[in-house]
């Protein structure tokens, strides 16, 4: 298995194992980072990826973990069913299915120092995807089972890939009054914000820049107790990352306690979580319906992200070393949503991200990238490449600390919809404009398109790898 979190600079700098990193892992690591900002990248789409051998391994992983989960869910149903044996309500079955076809074009940043000649991130310039998404659900009072298998085909210049996996599959059971149990693979998102959700330890993003793309489900078991209509307490554990179709940094097991509170006009949550090997992390979010048109909300967290690394000058052949983050920091988002008389919705959000790089840290990364250009043509090339890749890994919510974001959305039209999202990095003044649109050809076919237009210097966050990308797709709502 590739180990994308290999940090060769660190080992070299600290005088550890001097073996160069596995080149593929460097590419994978960096390539997938690019994908977090590009609408279309996929780990297995790297140009140096062998389509003849590696996909089979991914199939095995995806199928095995999926089948294990299906087995777990079914056996749980068998265990839970006797508790409902006296209940004569029949099972109901619901299903729906979608097929998605999309084409993507990415215009890379020509003079990127972090991805010179696309040798680090391996971002494909074109990509074509087909995905089939059936959703199956069986229900009876107090018990439900859902399975959401997925099949995907991807083609990019120089590589093709197909994949079969279980994105979600869970069992919900109400063993007693006020008690709820859920186990399996699920997408567990929360909070009112549109751009970032710092209180959520399961996901870095909200998935809103690419609404047609599904986030990967996480393997989670949770027990909830709801003593009143206005409060619920949930104890949860994440025991797996789910099927990672696109590269994400590996995450360790996590335990979480969540308290949900609501009244007639407001709702919110307090969250305490601890990932294996890290300190406790605390989070909270809330929303308040101020008037029929105005919502105010907030989302934040305080804790340590041990996966983060900082680049520092060092007395080693490369001149740089990487140190793991040991600091706790706070991240705060405040936002609001306003609905105009014509139904158009405006969201404004401001984020301070405590784990983002400050000016000195960002300057270190820029300086390192500049100095390593020469090393890429030397025997130290694998180390230099890994260092550049490490500096753009998707461990962070964002790379810098202070952001503003705006979203304007028109959900009022029957045949079409449009959304414009704009994020501005207050620290390096780069920005991303994302217009999204859908058009219904009929009740079963929807045409959609997304653009991502980046602006900024070639070493600034939004513009360091990609200048723009465009995605056009068709969704078939089969049933």
């Amino acid at each position: 298995m590739l180990r994308p979190d290999v940090s060769p600079i660190g080992s070299l700098g600290r005088g550890g194992n001097p073996c160069p990193p596995e080149p593929a892992s460097i590419g994978l690591q960096a390539g997938l980072q690019a994908n977090t900002h590009a609408p279309c990248s996929l780990a297995k789409c790297r140009s140096d990826f062998s389509p003849t051998t590696a996909p089979a391994r991914y199939h095995c992983v995806g199928l095995k973990s999926g089948l294990r989960l299906v087995g777990l869910c079914l056996s749980s149903v068998l265990l839970a069913a006797p508790a409902h044996a006296d209940d004569e309500t029949p099972w109901t079955f619901n299903s729906r299915a979608q097929g998605l076809l999309s084409a993507t074009h990415i215009e890379r940043q020509d003079n990127s120092q972090l991805n010179p000649g696309n040798a680090i991130a391996h971002i494909p310039s074109e990509r074509y995807d087909l995905e089939l998404r059936p959703d199956l659900e069986w229900k009876r009072p107090g018990l439900s089972l859902a399975l959401k298998p997925r099949f995907g085909l991807t083609h990019a210049p120089g590589s093709s890939d197909d994949d079969l996996w279980l994105n979600e599959g869970w069992l919900r059971w109400k063993p007693a009054q006020q008690w709820y149990l859920q186990a399996g693979r699920e997408i567990w998102l929360w909070g009112p914000s549109m751009f970032w959700s710092p209180s959520n330890p399961f996901y870095l993003g909200t998935g809103k820049n690419l609404p047609q793309r599904e986030l990967p489900g996480r393997d989670i078991a949770r027990l909830s107790w709801m003593p009143t209509d206005n409060a619920a307490l949930t104890l949860a554990g994440q025991f797996g990352n789910g099927h990672q179709r696109e590269y994400e940094p590996p995450s360790r097991k996590l335990a979480l306690l969540k308290l949900d509170l609501n009244n007639n006009e407001a709702s919110g949550s307090l969250i305490a979580s601890r990932r294996e090997g890290e300190l406790w992390r605390f989070g909270a979010y809330g929303q308040w319906t101020v008037s029929d048109a105005l919502l105010l909300y907030g989302d934040g967290s305080y804790g340590q992200n041990a996966n983060l690394t900082h680049v520092l000058p060092a007395a080693n052949p490369l001149g740089w070393t990487v140190e793991n983050n040991s600091q706790r920091s706070a991240t705060v988002l405040i936002g609001g949503a306003y609905t105009f008389e014509n139904g158009i919705n405006l969201n404004l959000e401001a984020l301070h991200y405590g784990d983002g790089r400050d000016d000195a840290q960002a300057a270190n990364v820029g300086e390192m990238a500049q100095q390593l250009q020469a090393a890429l043509a030397s025997p130290l090339a694998p180390y230099a490449a890994a260092s550049l890749g490490a500096s753009i890994t998707p461990q962070r919510l964002q790379q810098r600390q202070n952001y503003l974001a705006v979203q304007l959305m028109d959900p009022t039209r029957e045949r079409y919809s449009w959304t414009v999202r704009y994020s501005y990095n207050l620290d390096d003044h780069s920005s991303e404009l994302v217009p999204l649109g859908t058009y219904d050809l009929n009740d079963r076919l929807q045409l959609w398109g997304n653009l991502s237009l980046r602006h900024g210097r070639n070493n600034a966050e939004y513009s360091q790898l990609i200048r723009y990308s465009a995605m056009l797709g068709l969704t078939w709502f089969a049933w």
Binding site: Q182, P211, D260, S291, N345, E414, R444, W479
Partner: protein, 245 residues
């Protein structure tokens, strides 16, 4: 004899007083029940049909509601199947299966056509509005109380509603909806072809709501309510993290 006469006179006086000033809130609470408000657990289907400049739009939905919360699940057409709207008091979210996280909504966001989100869910006018009895007036030859409803707080969908409630049946038969500036922007008519049994009593239940745009008469939205069932509603159904049903 004198005693009987004075007792009868007193009763007549009391009846007269009661008849002269029925309590507006009581009238409203009774009318709410015929639209799902204040009842502990109900489920019904809604077929929505909207006609406007974009043509004809349709939605099929199932609504599960308790006294103040509703869960709307979209069944048709295929492009919206599985989408849900959760209303927990005045907190509202829109949920698309699998794709992204729940989106918080303001009460002002419209569902489709002239229908607001509150129109498909249970109606709780008695909790959301301060009611005042203006006068009695006949609508389609049916004697009605005309109530003026003013928003009790800023979080409700409409600022002011004029609501005609049948004196005989205790159900709302017509409503006019006004903006903050006092402008009429839509009006609705109600039919009650359904009924439910609650605490041994037969209660009429709304079967059709027809909403007209106040300016553009070609814009009409109809909501047909059917398959009304009294069910046990689990409060966890409205908790976005638990979603039990």
């Amino acid at each position: 004899m004198l005693k009987i006469k004075s007792t009868l006179a007193l009763l007549a006086l009391l009846a007269g007083v009661a008849q002269a000033a029925p309590d507006a809130k009581d009238i409203l609470q009774q009318a709410d029940m015929a639209r799902g408000g204040g009842l502990p657990g109900l489920m019904w289907n809604v077929e929505l049909n909207a006609r406007d400049e974009e043509g004809e739009q349709k939605r099929g939905m199932t609504v599960k509601a308790d006294a103040s919360n509703s869960l709307v699940e979209f069944l048709a057409p295929e492009k919206v199947k599985g989408q849900q709207m959760v209303m927990l008091g005045r907190n509202m979210w829109f949920v698309r299966p699998g794709l992204s996280k729940p989106v918080p909504m303001s009460p002002r966001q419209r569902l489709i056509g002239m229908a607001s989100n509150g129109d498909v869910a249970s109606t709780n006018y008695s909790g959301d509005y301060n009611a005042k009895l203006l006068k009695e007036e006949a609508i389609n030859d049916e004697d009605c109380y005309l109530l003026e409803l003013n928003a009790a707080n800023k979080g409700v969908t409409y600022d002011r509603i004029l609501y005609w409630v049948s004196k005989k049946r205790g159900v709302g038969v017509k409503a006019e909806f006004y903006t903050l500036s006092g402008k009429l922007f839509k009006f609705a008519e109600f039919e009650y072809g359904n009924d439910i049994r609650f605490e041994g009593k037969k209660i009429p239940f709304v079967s059709k709501m027809t909403i007209h745009d106040a300016i553009d008469k070609s814009k009409v939205t109809t909501l047909a309510y059917s398959t009304i069932k009294v069910i046990k509603v689990d409060p966890a159904m409205f908790n976005l993290n638990i979603r039990a049903d």
